[in-house]
């Protein structure tokens, strides 16, 4: 747990509120506010892989990473390829009395597009296809420009979208769903995991690194212009 020393003006109760506010306004960029409990700390310089936690509530204030912008871009390219594989290669194959069938990520979502289940079909389409695809596309765009030391057009909008989409990306749950479905059906049929399953596993890990943990630190990777 790291703690950041407060500037003296803020911990001194004898300074008048007005003066205190002015002093604070002059040093906004040196402060960090806990989004979960509103506590204010002063920002010290971090080593790239150092994280800071709130002294009051324990929430993450800042999450460090050893990865450079180019590393992140490379991982995003890998995620893009895996996403395509996961959508075209079968995740599960089954055999019943000589008849075969297989299902990809895409087809599993499409299976819900009937009758009233379409509500869940839309949701699954968003959580398993649209959000991961958009996350990968936005990161390619923003990181691609950042790697060339340029700020991507629409970068601010893109990062806001990435922040909003974080909870709605559910590839890792799909992975667990594949496991359960295999066990469920293997009692009755011959079931084998397909290449799509392995692509989905790797994709879940990459998305957790590039898009899930900390979108905020991407702001610090953006050049000003």
């Amino acid at each position: 747990m790291s703690e950041k020393r407060l500037p003296p003006t803020m911990s001194d109760p004898h300074v008048k509120a007005d003066d205190q506010r002015k002093a604070v306004a002059a040093q906004l960029h040196t402060l960090i506010v806990c989004e979960q409990c509103d506590a204010v700390f002063s920002r010290l310089s971090f080593a790239p892989d150092e994280s800071a936690f709130c002294r009051q509530c324990g929430a993450v204030l800042y999450r460090g990473s050893r990865l450079t912008t180019r590393d992140l871009l490379a991982l995003t390219f890998a995620a893009a390829i895996l996403f395509i594989v996961a959508n075209v290669a079968p995740a599960i194959r089954i055999t019943v009395s000589g008849m075969h069938n297989e299902v990809t990520l895409w087809e599993a979502v499409a299976a819900l597009w009937h009758g009233y289940a379409v509500v869940m079909g839309v949701l699954a389409g968003i959580a398993l296809i649209a959000v991961p695809a958009l996350q990968i596309a936005l990161l390619l765009w923003i990181l691609g420009f950042a790697a060339l030391d340029r700020r991507a057009p629409g970068a601010a909008m893109g990062l806001r979208l990435l922040h909003a989409m974080r909870p709605w990306s559910m590839i890792e749950v799909f992975m667990l769903g594949v496991l359960v479905a295999i066990v469920k059906l293997s009692a009755l049929l011959h079931v084998v995991p397909g290449p799509g399953t392995y692509a989905t596993m790797a994709l879940a890990i990459l998305l957790a690194i590039i898009a899930k943990r900390d979108v905020r630190s991407l702001w610090n990777r953006l050049p000003a212009h």
Partner: protein, 208 residues
């Protein structure tokens, strides 16, 4: 790291220093600003109508949880007579067939996670109304916990989707989603929205 001066006193609040942090990018701005200068998002000192919205979403989710469990989630027919099953029947079926591990996994995702979320969000709301200082760090940790686990409940929806997509053999075997899965999925979404609309700062707002 060396401790801050007077480590036992509480750190100052952003609201009392006349500053506000952008909820999207985290940059610190003066409290009278209306939009973040870095990312352009509107600035808010608190989540809007946090208590009322969270209550509404929690109650709606509790109501939907009844049909989610009472109605069948899937129809399956494999090499024999077909039948509909609810979430709990599905878990019992796994347990009886010897897959106690998968039965436990589905039980945790479909019953354990939503019920834990109901209880925790309910407790956080009641404590926020009473503006109590009781167990603040623990409540903060509980909030982060339920926020992180919520979406794993989508497991059942995904299993139904996969099995329905795979079993398309007419005479030999078919599977179709049933209405219960829609209610169940809506419970998951409503509880995710409830966790997101609860403002964790309410845990710390009583000034004592």
């Amino acid at each position: 790291m060396e401790p801050a001066a007077g480590a036992l006193t509480n750190p100052p609040r952003a609201s009392s220093l006349g500053i506000v942090a952008c909820g999207v990018c985290g940059s610190v701005q003066p409290a009278d600003a209306t939009a973040c200068t870095r990312c352009g998002a509107p600035l808010r000192r608190q989540k809007r109508d946090s208590l009322a919205r969270t209550w509404a979403l929690l109650i709606a989710a509790l109501i939907f949880y009844v049909p989610a469990n009472a109605l069948p989630v899937m129809y399956t027919k494999v090499l024999g007579p077909g039948g509909e099953s609810t979430i709990l029947e599905g878990i019992v079926e796994f347990w009886k067939s010897g897959s106690w591990d998968i039965a436990t996994l589905i039980f945790v995702a479909s019953v354990g996670v939503p019920v834990t979320k109901f209880l925790v969000i309910g407790t956080l709301l009641l404590a926020a109304h009473r503006r109590t200082t009781w167990a603040r760090p623990q409540r903060a940790r509980l909030y982060r916990f339920v926020e992180a686990i919520g979406y794993w409940s989508m497991l059942d929806v995904i299993v139904v989707a996969l099995v329905s997509a795979l079993l398309h053999f007419r005479a030999l075997g078919t599977a179709e989603p049933r209405l219960g899965i829609v209610f169940f999925g809506l419970v998951v979404v409503l509880m995710m929205l409830a966790a997101a609309s609860f403002d964790a700062r309410l845990i710390w707002s009583a000034d004592t």
